[in-house]
Symmetry: C2
Subunit: 176 residues, 2 copies
């Protein structure tokens, strides 16, 4: 190595995640990241390519965490859905980024795997993909609406989530 490295790719990504949660995508500027890791902004380009690549890396790191969170559940539809939601509440900006920014498709596939597995158990091989898409769409949609503040019309959001979960199970129950 030349001049001793004052930072590294992984530190930069970590700083990016912090800033993202603290100030949204707007707060994640190259300047802010640089300041946080202790270099000047142009030096980041020795490690990162550009801001879009950094966002993608942040998204991918977030996916990794989400996958770990899902793997720590009991693998049931309910467990996965609740884990999904808890993760989104803990890392709301990262969760948003996963879908908006160019998260590598490969990464999204990793998130899908546990849901696909659970669906296969429930409805069999033939409809597993469609069932997984039903579950994932509902969970992702619910959570994003919750994060977007679209549930301001009163009612208990937790209750709505559990109600939906019961409905989703019923949707898949009488199937195969």
């Amino acid at each position: 190595m030349p001049t001793p490295e004052k930072t590294s790719f992984s530190r930069i990504v970590a700083a990016g995640r912090d800033l993202l949660e603290a100030g949204g995508q707007q707060g994640l500027t190259m300047q802010n990241v640089a300041e946080r890791v202790g270099v000047r902004a142009p030096s980041l380009y020795k490690h990162v390519g550009n801001r879009a690549a950094l966002l993608a890396a942040v998204a991918e790191a977030t996916v990794d965490d989400l996958v770990a969170r899902l793997e720590s559940t009991d693998g049931s539809i309910e467990g996965l859905a609740r884990g999904y939601r808890q993760f989104a509440q803990a890392w709301p900006e990262g969760f948003r980024l996963m879908f908006s920014a160019g998260a590598p498709p490969e990464a999204l596939a990793r998130v899908a795997a546990p849901v696909l597995h659970a669906s296969r158990q429930l409805v069999g091989e033939r409809d597993a993909l469609e069932a997984a898409r039903l579950v994932t769409a509902w969970a992702a949609g619910f959570i994003k609406m919750e994060l977007a503040g679209a549930f301001r019309l009163g009612g208990d959001v937790d209750r709505a989530f559990e109600y939906g979960l019961v409905g989703i199970r019923r949707a898949l129950a009488g199937d195969h």
Copy 2:
């Protein structure tokens, strides 16, 4: 009025919508909007406040169109969901904006109304709000994943949508 107006709020919003669909949020710059309506960028501020306000106005106009589209359906869960999806495919960027940008909560409520009505018919007053949230979350989630290209793992997306629709109806059927 002073100096004859060369543009107007509604023209600016219309230009914003065009640019949004053509080039995403990135393509919607004040410069581009100004050029399209035939003035210089700073003149836009005589009509619009700032870019965020313009995005909000574009979002609201999009909501208006969506509501009109939904009101032209038969009002069933299936009709609403398909209308929702068709609208999103016709105006993908506007659809995305509706949730991401600061769409006025009042506007989102207007979209919710037809779904709420259909849900009430199906499950009764007590659970109508929860049921509507189930339907809306699934549809919005499905469509956003479709737009995000999250369905690259093979399978027929249309079939998955119809499968989901059957499931959602079953979820609400055995309820009340």
